[in-house]
């Protein structure tokens, strides 16, 4: 068993196990803890997949930002020191059965496809400036954000034809969207002073 495979299993088990733990835990704060473990392990999976930037973004934005926000929300809305909203056991069982059915659907669908037969993009991974073996995974991604696609255009022959499109415009749209959402959230959650009091 190679190191990467070993790490994959470690992260996969941590991610999946923590996800199941999130479902099973009744305490919201502990749910948040397991969620952190799960998301952190997912970030590890991203690193394994050569998507370093996505993994680091997952850590910075998701784990460091979003989840802190969630915990913040837990604290602000806690009516008791430890929240325990019991779910009806019958519902739990039903949800479990339905979830297993859904998992079955997904797994059977996944298994039904011969993924190995698909054309791989391994050769594209080698394009770029530093080989990915050096951990150089960022530059193609960064260039795609400013409108260049080295992963698609660098191996083209000749000078004719259209270059591939990058992600400059979506990137800007998402940025503006994020700003709008932040303003909106601040507005929604602002302290409301009641009229006349």
């Amino acid at each position: 068993m190679s190191g990467a495979n070993f790490l994959f299993w470690v992260y996969a088990l941590a991610a999946g196990g923590s996800a199941i733990a999130v479902v099973l835990t009744q305490n919201v704060v502990r749910m948040a803890f397991w969620l952190i473990v799960s998301l952190g392990s997912t970030a590890g999976l991203f690193f394994l997949l050569g998507a370093d930037f996505v993994g680091a973004a997952q850590l910075l934005v998701y784990v460091g930002g979003t989840l802190v926000l969630l915990i913040f929300g837990v604290m602000l809305t806690a009516s008791g020191p430890f929240i325990n909203m019991k779910t009806n056991p019958g519902e739990l069982v039903l949800a479990g059965v339905v979830g297993c059915a859904l998992l079955g659907v997904i797994l059977s669908t996944t298994g039904a496809v011969a993924w190995d037969a698909l054309p791989s993009s391994q050769h594209q991974q080698k394009l770029g400036f530093n080989p990915p073996e050096d951990g150089s995974t960022l530059r193609p991604l960064g260039m795609s954000f400013i409108g260049l696609r080295p992963d698609k255009d660098l191996d083209r022959k000749g000078t004719s034809g259209q270059l591939s499109t990058g992600y400059l415009l979506p990137f800007e749209i998402v940025s503006v969207h994020l700003l709008v959402v932040l303003v909106g959230a601040a507005y929604l959650a602002r302290a409301k002073r009641r009229q006349g009091s």
């Binding site: 519902e91 949800a95 339905v98 979830g99 059915a101 859904l102 659907v105 669908t109």
Partner: protein
């Protein structure tokens, strides 16, 4: 003058006059909006109005000076006209903008500039400027948020309204713009448009206090009376258009499709030849009535005449009708017999309006048009004009003798003086009539402003019997008024002249000219001696009633101490214009017929006037005096007129100044005549009986017809519609509504049954989604297999 100078001079004049014409319009727009922008206590509107009209005066005066400089105070003449088939052009005309062309009918904004235009421009803008300035003082009680109108009574006492200071000045500006546009107009249709604009402005201004019933009635009366005259005007326009095919006064050079210059003749060019003569073709075997030859080079199937001109003919009587129609417009506008009744009632407007209406703008428009259109008038029409003027001057003068309202006296005097002008034009004294128009404008505006000053000083008291002795309270007004009175009476010191200049005010010269013309005319046409006698008599009456007014108002003991005690001299903004105007009233006709004003007008005189006409008219028995003939009679006529005027003055002094004679006794002795005169020759009663009552009766008939026949028909229709609608409603209620309700109910029931799925529980929805996905997957598997 060579063509280049002619062209450049003309363009310079056009530019200046256009500016002077459009400035009041700009002022109007500014003031209307200024009323919204600023508050009601602001005088900004007045200042902008004064600025605009004063700037207009400066432009007009500059134009006049420029004219004088370029022509050395002679005519603007081009000895080589563009098309080179005409010898002399005494005017400069052209087109600003062609609004529309329908076949031959061409509606355009033209201009026509000659010395008459210039003089009118200068006169109108000068007088209007003075009146604007005067009005700043006179209308100052409108500068308030709560104007109390003492003459309007409501259930809660006097009527209150916000002041309309800015609106007044906006109307004044529009009025000036309209009058200037009328003067500048280059075709008769454009004249008509501005004619109506003048009318509507006078309607606004006479009805300025429209809350007062009398004011709104007077405004309506003025408007309706003018419409009667305008009806004739329209008929005249139609005839002209039908036979002449153009509205243009004078010829116009136009490029045809091949790029060649084509001369489109104007009205005057078609009717008159170069010497101002009309060619009349008498009735013969083929034609039962006489015809007039019209030169029209563009006319197809033209007949040759006199060797070089092509043209066509029109019936003589139709041209007479056209002339009478146009003159009917002038009658309405200038308040001539029989449409004179609106003018005294127009005194309901504020006094500056009266001054403007009576001197420079509205009534002047009629005389101006009669003068401008003189070439189109055939001898029969001129005779009619003369008689109308004659009747008017006498009638109005007699009424003025008994009137007691200070403004009404002036109003009737205006009518009377307009009669003089019409008479002057009618008897062939074209220059004399327009000369009197200009001089009269100055002294009449002066007198109206003086009366305005008196009214203002006496707190809106207009009845002369309540005044008297005011010369001690308001000396400036009194003396300036005296200047005007002397001017209108035509007083002079006979026989003495300093450096060859008669010692006389403007009215002496102009009235002299008219009476001289009338005298010559009556000598030439013995049967029309009344045309001389009546104006001569009128001159005496004029002197009598004008001095009556002056003595009544300013001399003697105060008759009403309440009025007298509160009387005061007007502020400087009001008496300053009086001084300026009195200067012009005295000296505008400086040197009389040798003076520059008369010469300027003489430049524009139609070609046919100077040498007189002999044995013209359809009957061939009319003679019109030549300049030479008039000159012979001039001295005698002047003496007669002066004599009569002095007699009138003396009589007035005896009655009202020295009080040797008692006017009350005279009144008692001639009670019937007095009543007849006080009732304004019964014209209002006559019109009431002749027009208003029949109209009422006919209206009653129509009401009855409406009630019985039309209403019955309508009611029957309505009942039918209602019964059909009832049936339709049943159909709607049962069938249509039933269908709609069915759909609605089905939807509603479906919704009700589905509402149980809508539990509001988030978690169940998630379950539904998952179950849905799984279900779809199962179905797909089943069917895929």
């Amino acid at each position: 003058m060579d063509p280049q100078t002619y062209q450049s001079t003309g363009e310079m004049l056009r530019n200046l006059l256009t500016l002077a014409w459009l400035l009041p319009l700009a002022g109007f727009v500014l003031e209307v909006f200024a009323g919204y922008w600023s508050h009601r206590l602001s005088r900004a509107a007045a200042y902008s109005a004064v600025f605009c009209i004063a700037a207009g005066f400066v432009c007009s005066f500059a134009a006049l000076m420029y004219w004088g400089h370029q022509t050395h105070w002679s005519a603007l003449e081009s000895h080589a006209s563009p098309a080179d088939h005409h010898d002399v052009l005494k005017y400069f005309s052209g087109t600003y903008y062609t609004l529309a062309e329908f076949g031959k009918l061409r509606i355009a904004i033209d201009y026509h500039i000659d010395s008459l235009t210039l003089v009118m421009f200068t006169m109108v803008t000068l007088i209007a400027t003075m009146i604007h300035i005067f009005a700043i003082g006179y209308m100052s009680d409108e500068l308030t948020e709560h104007y109390e109108d003492h003459q309007v009574h409501t259930a809660h006492g006097h009527f209150h309204r916000p002041g309309r200071f800015y609106m007044f000045f906006a109307y004044l500006s529009l009025f000036s713009f309209s009058m200037l546009g009328l003067v500048l107009a280059g075709n008769v249709f454009q004249v008509f448009v501005f004619w109506e604009l003048v009318g509507v402005c006078s309607y606004f201004l006479i009805g300025f206090y429209f809350e007062r019933k009398s004011a709104s009635t007077a405004a309506n009366k003025a408007f309706i009376m003018n419409r009667v005259g305008d009806f004739g005007f329209l008929i005249g326009l139609m005839i002209l258009w039908t036979w002449f095919g153009t509205f243009q006064f004078n010829e116009r050079v136009e490029s045809d499709a091949n790029g060649r210059d084509v001369v489109m003749p104007g009205l005057f060019d078609m009717l008159r030849d170069d010497h101002g003569n009309v060619t009349v073709l008498p009735a013969n075997d083929h034609d039962s009535y006489a015809r007039v030859f019209l030169a029209d080079p563009g006319h197809s199937g033209a007949l040759k005449h006199e060797g070089h001109k092509e043209g066509k003919t029109m019936p003589y009587f139709l041209l007479v009708v056209a002339g009478l129609g146009i003159f009917a417009g002038c009658v309405g506008k200038s308040a001539q017999f029989p449409l004179q009744t609106w003018l005294p009632d127009a005194m309901e407007g504020p006094t500056p309006v009266s001054a403007l209406v009576h001197s420079a703008t509205m009534v002047a428009a009629g005389v101006y048009l009669a003068g401008r259109f003189y070439p189109m008038f055939l001898p029969e029409v001129l005779l009619t004009i003369a008689y109308v003027g004659c009747i008017t001057l006498f009638m109005a003068a007699t009424i003025a003798v008994v009137a007691t309202d200070i403004k009404r006296v002036l109003a009737y005097s205006t009518i009377s003086q307009l009669g003089y002008m019409m008479l002057g034009i009618g008897v062939g004294g074209w220059t004399a009539g327009l000369f009197h128009l200009i001089t009269h404008a100055f002294f009449k505006s002066l007198m109206f402003l003086c009366s305005g000053s008196v009214i203002h000083g006496c707190h809106h008291e207009q009845e002369m019997p309540k005044m008297g002795g005011l010369i001690r309270k308001m000396p400036i007004t009194a003396y300036t008024m005296l200047v005007g009175v002397i001017a209108i009476c035509g007083l002079a010191i006979p026989g003495i002249s300093i450096f060859g200049i008669k010692i006389a005010f403007s009215g002496y010269h102009s009235k002299d000219a008219i009476i001289a013309t009338a005298m010559t005319f009556s000598q030439l046409n013995g049967s029309h001696f009344l045309l001389f006698v009546v104006p001569l008599l009128g001159a005496g009456i004029t002197a009598f009633y004008m001095f009556r007014l002056w003595f009544y108002t300013f001399i003697g003991q105060p008759r009403d101490h309440h009025v007298y005690d509160h009387a005061h001299e007007s502020p400087v903004v009001m008496w300053a214009p009086l001084i300026v105007l009195s200067f012009f009233a005295a000296f505008v006709a400086f040197k009389g017929e040798a003076g520059s004003l008369f010469k300027l007008l003489l430049d524009t005189e139609p070609a046919s006037v100077a040498h007189g006409l002999h044995d013209v008219g359809l009957a061939g028995d009319l003679n019109f005096p030549s300049h030479v003939g008039i000159e012979e009679n001039h001295k005698a006529a002047g003496l007669y007129a002066l004599l009569v005027a002095v007699m009138g003055t003396t009589l007035a002094y005896l009655f009202y100044g020295a009080r040797v004679l008692n006017p009350a006794e005279v009144k008692r002795q001639f009670a019937g005549v007095h009543n007849f005169l006080v009732e304004k020759w019964q014209f209002d009663i006559l019109y009431d009986a002749a027009f208003v009552r029949p109209v009422h009766v006919i209206a009653k008939w129509f009401v009855a017809f409406d009630r019985n026949v039309l209403d019955g028909f309508l009611h029957a229709t309505a009942r039918t519609a209602v019964s059909i609608a009832t049936l339709d409603r049943r159909f709607d209620e049962t069938v249509v509504d039933g269908l709609v309700n069915l759909v609605g109910n089905v939807t509603y029931d479906a919704g009700r049954s589905l509402r149980y799925v809508q539990t509001g529980r988030l978690r169940q929805y998630v379950m539904f989604i998952v179950l849905g996905v799984v279900g779809i997957w199962i179905v797909m598997r089943l069917f895929a297999a």
